[in-house]
Amino acid sequence: MSDFHADAFDHDAALQACARGDQQALQRLYEREHRYLFGVALRIVRQRQVAEDVLHDAFVSIWQRAASFDPARGAGRGWMFTVVRHAALNRMRSASREVSLDDDEVPSDGEGGLPAGDAMTDDPFVHRAMLGRLGDCLSALEPARRDCVLLAYVEGCSHGEIAERTRTPLGTVKAWIQRSLRALRECMG
């Protein structure tokens, strides 16, 4: 990914130091990234306390798994984001199972319990400026399909939640997401 930080903090080296048991290296990573990682988790789980739990578990996991971090599979900063995102997503998906939210239920026309999407998702110029090639490829998608991708990735919405938020039939949402993934893969290689 493109590095949004101008200076040369070496995440990979810090993670390798964690693998050697260097506790201050983990603290440096935390100090550097916690606001961004917390933002990502909060957007997905939507509650500050839960997001803190996610970040806690993710940092314990990063510490424990630092030695298995493989720079050949992707840069260290990105790896930390994937650990946090999947911790948040696992939390959300198992929570929704507990309250038996039925993913296959046809969404009603009524107001869903979720806050409406915001302008973040529909400004192609923002996408192009911040997201590089991915922004170009997203901009090439139909806006409604692009929103599905962003609601899923950024907001952590399930198929059912996207259907509710966008007032689109669930089957349509599923098909749009699959087509969007194919289009993105083709566009980005």
Binding site: C18, M120, R179
Partner: protein, 254 residues
């Protein structure tokens, strides 16, 4: 990799269904069960792992769309407490990353906190064996004992006694607080196993007997741990939560 003229709407007729599966996994739209299945496969399925890595790399810039936010000032101290960053591990020799293992074996072997644990645990184990008056000198076969300690401060929390080749006893030394809707899960792995095996869910503060006659015989240095998992246990058959207690089997002579 790229299918020829795939039907556009049906991933099951697509030549690379895992490509879409990996994409949906990274996107986050899979159910808990489907996520668990993907994560279990990632341990050994190299093409799937490559597809997931590629999707992670493609979509990662989207993380910049989530506005940064400041968690409470307590969060780092809380993480630090969980790791006991204040020096518990500072004295040990530098650990090296696991050389060339794969999948879960690699992950399992790579946990830095396991290194250096055995020596301390042996001493504690022998002391406890005396202090608790365990009768470990039964005649048949080697006898093993494990003290499970907290990874942060090495405080002993549970003792495992292999009283027969067919059964383990897990004995609490105190109360282990467990958050609501979470469970303690008991795991073991010998050095030459490819992955950890669940020995079941554990009630905090209560002793438990665990049949082990379906497992290979206990080995010296075999690893045991208790992890914090979802209420019904890990959905994917290997540890997902933080390690609360950990220890290795020690051979004891009567």
């Amino acid at each position: 990799m790229t299918p020829q003229n795939p039907p556009r709407d049906d991933m099951h007729h697509d030549g690379s269904p895992d490509e879409l599966l990996a994409g949906e996994y990274v996107l986050g739209t899979l159910s808990a069960e489907a996520r668990a299945q993907v994560e279990a496969r990632l341990a050994h399925d190299v093409p799937l792992r490559a597809a997931v890595d590629a999707w992670e790399a493609r979509l990662l810039p989207l993380t910049a769309l989530a506005p940064a936010d400041e968690p409470s000032a307590d969060l780092w101290p809380r993480i630090a407490r969980s790791l006991h960053i204040a020096g518990a591990r500072a004295a040990g020799p530098a650990a090296k990353p696991a050389a060339r293992a794969d999948g879960w074996q690699r992950w399992w072997n790579s946990l830095a906190l396991w290194r250096g644990l055995a020596t301390g645990a042996v001493a504690v184990a022998l002391l406890l064996a005396v202090a608790l008056g365990f009768r470990l000198g039964a005649p048949a076969g080697p006898q093993y004992m494990v003290v499970l300690v907290a990874p942060q401060d090495k405080a002993p929390g549970w003792v495992i006694q292999a009283s027969s080749p067919r059964e383990l006893s897990l004995i609490p030394l105190g109360m282990t607080p467990v958050p609501a809707a979470r469970s303690l899960q008991f795991w073991t792995k010998a050095d030459d196993w490819s992955g950890p095996v669940s020995l079941g869910l554990v009630q905090p503060g209560e002793p438990m007997r665990v049949p082990i006659d379906r497992l290979p015989p206990l080995q010296h240095n075999q690893l045991f741990e208790l992890t914090l998992e979802p209420e019904n246990g890990s959905p994917i058959g290997r540890p997902t939560g933080p390690i609360l207690y950990i220890g290795r089997a020690v051979r004891v002579r009567g």
